[in-house]
Every structure is written in C-alpha cells, then in structure tokens.
C-alpha cells in the first residue's frame, strides 16, 4: 500500500512544515492580543478566523504545532533513548537477573494508569510542556523496551548471530552491529505510532490544564480553550481538532505504510 505512505507522509509533512515555517514567518503576531477583534469567523484576512483573544487561528495552529510536535517528538526520544538499550540489554541476558529486573520494572510502569501518573507528575512538578514530555516519555520507555527485547530475542536465535559469536564478537558488539540495525524498521514504525499517541496525550493533558502553559500555544490547549465556545464559534474548535486529527492520521498512515514498505520478514514481536 504505497498510497498510505504517500498520503500519510504528505499530511504529517504539511503540519510539520507549517510548524517549522512559523519560526521564520507567521501571518499574524500571536503575542499581540486584539480583544476588539475576538471570535471572528474565517475571512480573507484571517483564513481560519480569530480566537477569543482576537489572535489569528492560522498563526496559532502553526506556532501551536511546534509545541505539540516537540512534546511528542522528545517524548518518543526519551522512550527510545532509554527503552531500546534496556531492551537490548535484557535480550542479551535472557532470563538473567537484569532481564528479570528490567521486565518487572516495565510491568510495574505498565501497571500504573498512564494518564493518572502524567497528572500526578505534572501536579508534583507543576504543569508545563517539559513535564508533560517527561510524563509521556516515561510511559514510552516500557513500550520500546518490550518491543526491542521481543524482537532482539528472536534475532539472537538467528544463525547470523551465532556466526558473529563464532567470529569472536562480544554481546555489546553484536547488539550494536547485528541486532540494532535489524530493529531499525520496527523502531521507526513504532516510533511513528508513539509519536501520534504523544500528540493525543499532549492534547488530553492540555484539556485538563496540565499540558503546555500560556503564553505557549499548543493544539491541545487551543482545543481546551475553545471548548465552551464550540456552540457559537465552532471554527475555533474545528481548526485545532482537525490539526490533531490529520497529523495523527497522517502519522498512523505513515507508520502503516512504512511497515509494509520496510522488511516484511521481521516480525512485530509483542513480548
């Protein structure tokens, strides 16, 4: 299904591109409030209308994308950066104390309701985008650790690993040279999925007021801000809602497309 990949990449690239563009140029300055011009429907000047502070929604979507994407991206980075090495290490020591320890710790994290813990983390350290990242990132660690371990265990039984051992290579070296490269596809695919989940999680946290904080806009916060006005100013909720929906959709399609495109032989091992 090449179609999925193209459509998905196109959608995600569009929003990512808009967010990047906002570093250099936005239609209107979002720092300047224009209360007199609040809640205007889409028009020639403001393509997506204005919000309850009279800011241009298109500019807000562009700048807000930065936060949403950055939160999700860094959270995935945390998950991968810690989860993958842990998973690799656990696979090396299959059944050993390290494996047991890592997997039990993972189970423990999984046992905690994620949103609740995210709320608690933000309650402890204060609500902010950075804490949202940490909260979301922590729950990405076991996801990647499990995935990596499962797939790595499968790879460790393959003969080419045995061949490397016959060639005298150690576990660390084999993990880096043989195991990890064969996991890249899997990680990319899971990464896009976690990325999209991260965007949704940020939206959820923002909805309860624990995501990005003013004056930093994010899609989730825009959505939360517009909730009460949805009945008379639907354009305010529609734009960030669609931005989230389309980006997540795009990422999921991209993930599916990548999975089909990249090595279909590698199994998506769960455990």
């Amino acid at each position: 299904m090449r179609r999925n990949l193209i459509l998905g990449t196109g959608l995600s690239a569009m929003f990512a591109g808009a967010a990047l563009l906002s570093f250099f140029w936005v239609p209107f300055d979002i720092g300047a409030l224009d209360i007199a011009n609040k809640i205007k429907p889409p028009s020639g000047a403001h393509w997506l209308g204005t919000d309850h502070f009279g800011r241009d929604i298109l500019s807000m979507i562009m700048v807000g994308g930065r936060t949403s994407i950055a939160v999700a991206l860094v959270a995935v980075g945390i998950g991968m950066g810690l989860g993958v090495p842990l998973g690799l290490a656990a696979a090396v020591q299959r059944g050993g104390w390290l494996d047991e320890g890592i997997m039990r710790a993972n189970d423990l994290i999984f046992a905690f309701p994620s949103l609740l813990i995210a709320i608690m983390i933000t309650a402890v350290f204060g609500a902010s985008a950075v804490n949202a990242i940490i909260a979301i990132g922590i729950f990405n660690i076991p996801v990647f650790a499990r995935l990596t371990r499962g797939a790595a265990l499968g790879l460790w039984t393959r003969d080419f690993v045995l061949a490397a051992r016959v060639a005298g290579k150690g576990a660390v070296r084999i993990s880096c040279e043989h195991i990890l490269p064969n996991l890249v596809n899997l990680l990319i695919v899971q990464g896009t999925i976690q990325f999209s989940l991260g965007i949704l999680a940020e939206a959820g946290l923002s909805y309860v007021g624990l995501g990005a904080q003013p004056p930093v806009p994010s899609w989730g916060r825009m959505l939360a801000d517009s909730q009460t006005m949805i009945s008379f100013a639907p354009h305010m909720a529609l734009s960030p809602g669609l931005a989230i929906l389309l980006t997540v959709l795009g990422l999921n399609l991209m993930g599916d497309g990548l999975r089909d495109l990249l090595d279909p032989r590698l199994q998506r091992g769960q455990r």
Binding site: R104, D107, L108, F110, A111, F112, P113, S114, L115, L116, I119, M120, A123, V124, S196, L200, A203, G204, Y207, V208, G220, L223, Q227, I230, S231, A237, G241, I244, L245, L246, V248, L249, N252, L253, Q270
Partner: protein
C-alpha cells in the same frame, strides 16, 4: 497447578508492595499541605496544627507508610482528608459508576470490533475493507474528549435523547443508569474499538496465512467456516492482551471523559483528590487501580491458558 497459583500470588503481593512504596514515595514529594488547602486564606497557625494532628499528618514518613499499609490490609483505607469519610466507602461508591462504565465501554468496543474485524478480514482488498480501516484510523486519531463534546452537543443538547452528563444512579433503575452511561461509554469505546478492530484484523490475517487454515480448507471448509472455526480462536491471543490493557485503561483513563460528562467516577475522584492534596485518597485509588491492573493481567493469563492448550501444561 496449586503451586503455580501460589507462586503467582506471592509475586503478585511483591509487586503490590513495591507499587505501594513507589506510590507513597511519589506522594511524599508532592508539594502542598492538605490542611492549608482546606482551611483557606484566613486560617490561623494553631487551627492548621489542630487539623494536621487530626488528619494524622504528623509523624515520620515511615510511620505513616506503615499505618497506611497495615490499614489497607484490614480493608481500612483511612479517612479522606477533605471529605472526612472513609476512603474505602468513597471508592466503593465511585466503583459503582466506574466499573459499569468500563464494562459497558469494553462490551461496546468488543461488539463493534469483533464483527468489523471479521468483516474486514474476510473481505480482504475490497472497498469495504478500505472503508472499515479508514474508520478505525479516524477513530484512533480523534481526541476522545473532542468527540465526546460533539456527541453531547448533538445527542443531549439538540436531540435530547440522552442526558448531557451526570449519573442517574442505579436506584433509578437499570435503564436510567445505562442511559446516563451511554454517551460516555461510546466516547470511551470509540478509540478502543478502533484499536481492537485493527489488532484483531491483523491477527486474523496472520492466522489466515497459517498452514492449518490451508489444511482446514483442504478438508472442505469454506473460507468463512475456516475463518470462524479456526482463525478466530487463534487470533484471540493478541486480542486478549489488548482487551486486558484496555480494561485497566478504561477504569482509570476515563478521567477526561468523566470530566466531560461530570460522572462521579474513580477518575474524577482521584483528579479532584490530587488538586485538593487529599493524598490518602490518591494513594488508595492508585493502589486500587494498580491492583486491578495486576489482577486483570492475571485473569488474562488464565484466559490465555483457556484459549491455548499449549500454555496449560507449561510450568
């Protein structure tokens, strides 16, 4: 078998103990004084001290942890700082909302996902499959509180088929209770059903590619019969995993939905408790949820063994 169960129980208790320590420690470092929160702006120092004493907030952390733990073993979860009612009672009341809601949503999501997945798997490559899969993509991508809002506007405010929120209470009758849980359950079930459909479809397709399906077809089973009699049960293993994960999510992850529909459920209780620094409630609810997750996982393990004879003999 008995030995196996015992062994599992011991490790279950160990996990719970570790979890309780983690929870307690996490909440120890939460800034904010429950007594100050309750007494407000004009409270005087001696009043605060009196309240702290009554709440049992004085004493070392270890003492408090010990008394919390031993209390829980006796089924005594302590007294809520803010509500001043036994926590066990509060949780009990809220469970009567959260548990039915979670089950309702889970039921709905299975009810949607099973036929949809079967349908999509049996019509591989058709426009119908594309449609179902497209819907699931949307279902995953829509933020569920947003979807919930739209449903409230349409079905409660405009059409007035359902209440906009709140919980009628089971004493008003089963129908009234279910009616007030319908919209929240749908909102919760939508993404879950989408995920479940996708997982189940791909599990079905995977098993459909297995050799034993070809064997079954060679016996004279039609494609549909092979799907139902042979593929379905084999595909249940990943599906069960997801259902297990979803249940615990539904029990606690409903915080946002409970807010949208102002339901007196566990999620909202713990959310309020966090902001009110009613730590004992937070601790107990989180503990309960962790317990539920571990229990659900245990049940899922047993269900695996029920589905898959290969797992019965092992260990």
């Amino acid at each position: 078998m008995l030995r196996y169960v015992l062994q599992r129980l011991v490790s279950l208790c160990l996990s719970l103990l570790v979890a309780s320590a983690v929870i307690f420690l996490a909440l120890e470092i939460v800034p904010g004084d429950p007594a100050a929160y309750m007494l407000g702006l004009n409270a005087q120092e001696d009043t605060l001290a009196a309240l702290r004493d009554e709440l049992g907030l004085n004493g070392t952390a270890l003492q408090r942890y010990g008394s919390w733990l031993s209390g829980m073993l006796h089924g005594d979860f302590g007294i809520s700082y803010t509500y001043r009612t036994p926590v066990a009672e509060m949780i009990g009341d809220r469970l009567w909302v959260s548990l039915p809601l979670a089950l309702f949503a889970l039921g709905l999501s299975c009810l949607i996902a099973f036929p949809a997945a079967l349908w999509a798997a049996s019509r591989r490559g058709t426009l119908g499959e594309l449609g179902v899969m497209g819907m699931t993509q949307l279902g995953i991508a829509i933020p569920n509180f947003w979807f919930a809002m739209l449903m409230v506007l349409i079905f409660a405010v405009n059409l007035r088929w359902f209440p906009a929120g709140g919980f009628a209470g089971w004493e008003e009758g089963l129908f009234a209770g279910l009616k007030s849980l319908t919209l929240p359950a749908v909102a919760l079930a939508l993404p879950q059903a989408s995920i479940l459909t996708r997982v189940m479809r791909s599990a079905l397709l995977d098993t459909l590619g297995e050799d034993f399906i070809r064997t079954a077809r060679a016996k004279g089973l039609t494609r549909g019969q092979a799907l139902r009699r042979h593929a379905l049960r084999n595909a249940m293993i990943p599906v069960l995993t997801i259902i297990g994960l979803q249940f615990s999510f539904l029990l606690a992850g409903a915080i946002i939905i409970e807010n949208v529909f102002f339901l007196p459920g566990l999620g909202r209780l713990v959310f309020q408790a966090i902001s009110a620094r009613d730590l004992i409630v937070v601790e107990s609810v989180v503990m309960l949820l962790v317990f539920a997750v571990i229990l659900v996982n245990f049940t899922v393990d047993l269900a695996y063994a029920w589905v898959d004879p290969r797992l019965r003999g092992r260990r």
